[in-house]
């Protein structure tokens, strides 16, 4: 639905996408120590792919863009790392278990980026709303 307040929806799409990213990061971090049997596949870190959305018509013609959306959610590939842990109840005959190769440093860095991006979208949202409210004061009184 075309709305005169399109910036709000665009900023909102950014927030939703960043929220999805934060959700996947929290799942990856939560599963950073999920140990599997060597016969099983290791836990695979989830990845978010974003894409821009077309839309939004400028007053003089042309497109201002319609925001962003999650294009796909995939899981990383990888066999994990085989670790010697004979006391683990999941260990095989050689005392090996399969640990996921979730890079905690990478996940935490992504988390900071995602959180900052979310905040940036909130700031855009607030500024756009203030601009619209200011425009509504034209000719008042």
């Amino acid at each position: 639905m075309p709305t005169p307040f399109s910036s709000l929806a665009v900023a909102g799409s950014g927030m939703s996408t960043m929220k999805t990213w934060i959700d996947t990061i929290s799942d990856n971090v939560a599963n950073a120590n999920t140990v599997k049997r060597t016969s099983e596949t290791a836990f695979q870190a989830r990845q978010v792919f974003a894409e821009s959305v077309s839309g939004g018509t400028a007053i003089g013609g042309g497109e201002t863009g319609g925001g962003v959306r999650v294009s796909r959610l995939t899981t990383a590939s990888g066999d994990g790392t085989l670790t010697f842990d004979p006391n683990n109840s999941l260990a095989d005959a050689n005392g090996m278990v399969r640990r996921p190769n979730v890079d905690l440093v990478e996940q935490m860095t992504s988390l900071i980026v995602a959180q900052r991006a979310y905040s940036a979208n909130v700031t855009v949202f607030e500024r756009a709303r203030d601009s619209y409210l200011r425009a509504l004061e034209i000719g008042r009184g």
């Binding site: 639905m1 709305t3 005169p4 307040f5 709000l8 929806a9 900023a11 909102g12 927030m15 939703s16 929220k19 909130v122 949202f125 709303r129 619209y132 409210l133 509504l136 000719g139 008042r140």
Partner: protein
Amino acid sequence: MALIPPIGVNPAVARPIAPSTTTATDPTAATRGNSFGDSVTKALDDLQASQSKADSLARDAATGRLQNIEEYLIAASDAQLSTQLTVAVRNKAVESFNEIMRMQI
């Protein structure tokens, strides 16, 4: 607490618009055709749609079914701004109508 204002505001603000715009559209419709009346009707429909979206999301938030908090806040802001815009347009239309009615013949 943040959920209450949009629910409470919407019906109160939406009510005076409907009767007022019908009186405001009639004189202009006679002179300019249906374009202004159509625009107002369409704007009111859009306003109704955005307010019912905000209301249903507010209900979801209250019942704990809301997945994205920003979704509700955006819908509420959108409904609030749409209401203010419609009220501004309606005030200007009534103002013009009153101005015309005050004209000396």
